[in-house]
């Protein structure tokens, strides 16, 4: 579903290199965790996949379901089924949740040649999906993320994921700033959305989230490159030994 080949990315204006030859292959139904220390390029990877401005692709390719992802605008990527759960969800004063979701859901539906949802069906769907992550349905009249608590913002991201029904969901540090109860709710939501047709890339600094969202593969990102891959045991090992261990290993290898 997602194939990243030898990806090199730098920051557009200053030229700082962030990703240095990253390779990753994700198939439908799989859950991949990407772990790494601060500054290793985890969030840059998420931003580049979603199509955020400000990055220069120096080399490499990203294909999504056989299409060149780099050729697509951010909104096209989303309509094609790529979803990014933001690390820092943006507040949109004056834009109501219901208007926002209606626009989003119907944009995706139109792309899939589906009719727009009726007002009744849309409300029903909102109610049902909000329950996934224990969000109060009254949130529909609130402005997007405005005045939401940290936990509500993260749950809201998973709620949107459920509403948009993507093929590939990238969760960018969805666990950051969550207490253990909120973490469990978010993880439960994600687990309910796992399916043979959908893949997840879970980006996280800590192993904790992976106790709840159990990955099929764990990759360690250091200095913009995946330096080690394994199964869920790798995450536990990392938790125990710390990232310095990887760096030392790498040091010995080179």
């Amino acid at each position: 579903m997602l194939t990243i080949n030898n990806l090199h990315v730098s920051i557009e204006e200053e030229g700082t290199k962030i990703l240095n030859g990253l390779d990753l292959k994700v198939n439908a139904g799989e859950v991949h965790a990407i772990m790494g220390p601060n500054g290793s390029g985890k969030s840059t990877l998420a931003s580049v996949l979603a199509g955020k401005d400000g990055y220069e692709i120096d080399q490499g390719s990203i294909s999504f379901d056989g299409d060149d992802l780099m050729e697509m605008d951010p909104d096209e990527r989303a309509r094609e089924g790529l979803f990014l759960a933001f690390q820092y969800p943006v507040e949109l004063p004056g834009v109501s949740m219901s208007n926002f979701l209606k626009q989003a859901v119907n944009s995706v539906r139109e792309h899939r040649n589906q009719d727009p949802l009726s007002a009744g069906d849309f409300l029903k769907m909102m109610k049902e999906k909000a329950a996934f992550v224990h969000l109060d349905p009254s949130l529909k009249s609130r402005a997007v993320n405005e005045g939401f608590s940290g936990g509500e913002k993260k749950r809201n991201e998973i709620f949107q994921l459920a509403m948009l029904d993507p093929k590939l969901a990238i969760l960018d540090e969805t666990d950051s700033g969550l207490d253990i109860d909120a973490l469990r709710i978010v993880a439960d939501g994600v687990n309910q959305l796992r399916s043979p047709d959908r893949a997840f890339v879970v980006i996280t600094h800590y192993q904790r989230l992976l106790d709840y969202i159990v990955p099929d593969f764990v990759h360690v990102l250091v200095d913009g490159k995946i330096v080690m891959s394994g199964d869920k045991q790798l995450a536990l090992e990392l938790e125990e030994k710390g990232y310095d261990w990887i760096k030392d290993e790498q040091g010995q290898l080179t």
């Binding site: 955020k52 951010p74 909104d75 834009v95 926002f100 944009s107």
Partner: protein
């Protein structure tokens, strides 16, 4: 040439003050004479005049004297005709329905200012011009000097008018200089709400230099909305001067969607304790439009609240100006005064000048002001696009949300709905 500048004021004085020669004990005439003297002494704003620094209104005065045969009556759009309420239409700011409107609720009078004055000079002599500070604005002084008639809206003590008074300024001269006057008096404990609409016109009408005064007596409440939508070459100087007594409430929402050059002079004097004053405004300036909101809240007495929110969107080569001054005098303790101005610039050729001013002489007050100017928020745009919403729709959603914030403060649902759809139309085109 300086000589032409010199003659400009005298030419205006001659033309628009022609009927001031004979005073005959008429206090209104003597008020007008004083206003004319003040206007002549101060003159039109010069290039260096601080309060008109960014807004070259005087440049547009040359068109004020067309040949009489070139003037026709221009009919403009009356978009609010189906709104529930008491409707009046004006021609050049004067009542079209004759001198007095009949069938009004008890305690409400809407009439010609001149007829009212002539019928009872003593009643109006103490009121007319009492809210005016002639030195503050030469255009208001000129309008006060020139206007020989206007509209008078009077709500008697304790009377609540639930219906909205809808004033359609829907006939105006096609050229020249029009200076109407409006006086609103809400007596003790009375309440009234009104909407003034300067409808869309296909061509630019006369230069409209209007002066409106409101006297809000003890415990009274006036809610005012103005929607201005004239042609993109029209000129409008809108002087609104409000004096409030104890425990009174005044709100205005000034929405500027049209005009080539618009200057809103909104002057408030909460001259009593426990007053509440709300000034909100929105403008969308495009093409070569120039919109200037100039506000003064002069807190003269203690224990009052004022709240000000102005928002603007500028694009193309348009200019937006905001100058908001809050003055808290020495005896005006326990004042809460808040002021916010926010603008979005969509084009690098568009400009915004924002100047918030606080002048505080009392020591126990809460005042704040904030002015932000920027482009559309990239992070917000990306967030919407990351959910599949295309760029155009995402941009519209953000701009509409920004502008609706002000519209949402209008209590009249029909007006809100109309403005939502107008905002959508205008923003879609730009």
């Amino acid at each position: 040439m300086d000589t032409s500048k010199e003659t400009m004021e005298s030419r205006f004085a001659e033309t628009f003050g022609a009927d001031l020669a004979v005073e005959n004990g008429n206090s209104w005439i003597s008020d007008r004479r004083r206003a004319m003297e003040s206007f002549q002494a101060n003159g039109f704003p010069k290039r260096k005049s601080e309060s008109y620094k960014y807004t070259p209104v005087s440049k547009r005065l040359n068109d004020a004297f067309p040949a009489a045969q070139d003037i026709e009556t221009l009919k403009t759009d009356s978009a609010f005709a189906s709104l529930d309420g008491i409707h009046l239409s004006t021609r050049n700011g004067l009542l079209r329905h004759g001198n007095q409107i009949s069938g009004l609720p008890a305690g409400l009078t809407i009439a010609s200012l001149k007829k009212t004055y002539d019928g009872n000079p003593e009643f109006l002599s103490g009121i007319l011009s009492s809210a005016l500070d002639l030195e503050r604005d030469p255009f208001s002084a000129l309008a006060a000097a020139s206007a020989s008639d206007g509209v008078f809206i009077h709500v008697e003590s304790g009377v609540h008018i639930d219906e909205t008074i809808v004033i359609h300024h829907d006939e105006v001269d096609s050229a020249g200089f029009v200076q109407p006057r409006l006086l609103i008096v809400a007596e003790k404990g009375a309440s009234v709400n009104m909407l003034e609409h300067f409808g869309q016109s296909s061509v630019a009408p006369a230069f409209e230099n209007r002066i409106a005064e409101a006297l809000v007596e003890k415990g009274a409440r006036v809610d005012h909305v103005l929607v201005y939508e004239r042609n993109e070459n029209a000129t409008f100087v809108n002087g609104l001067h409000v004096t409030q007594a104890d425990e009174s409430h005044f709100s205005t929402n000034t929405i500027t969607l049209g005009g080539g050059l618009v200057r809103n002079n909104l002057h408030f004097l909460p001259d009593g304790e426990e007053c509440e004053t709300h000034l909100n405004g929105l403008y969308i300036a495009r093409g070569n439009m120039h919109v200037d909101n100039h506000t003064i809240v002069d807190h003269a007495k203690p224990n009052c609240v004022s709240n000000e929110l102005f928002k603007g969107i500028v694009t193309d080569k348009a200019t937006g100006v905001f100058n908001g001054k809050v003055l808290v005098r020495q005896d005006a303790q326990k004042i809460n005064a808040y002021q916010t101005s926010k603008s979005i610039v969509l084009d690098r050729n568009a400009s915004i000048y924002a100047k918030p001013e606080l002048e505080i002489y009392a020591d126990d007050v809460k005042c704040s002001h904030g002015a932000t100017t920027g482009e559309l928020d990239d992070e917000a745009l990306f967030y919407l696009r990351a959910r599949g919403i295309n760029y155009e729709t995402a941009r519209m959603m953000l701009l509409e949300a920004f502008a609706r914030d002000v519209v949402d403060l209008i209590e009249l649902e029909g007006v809100r709905e109309y403005l939502y759809s107008r905002l959508h139309e205008i923003l879609l085109d730009n």
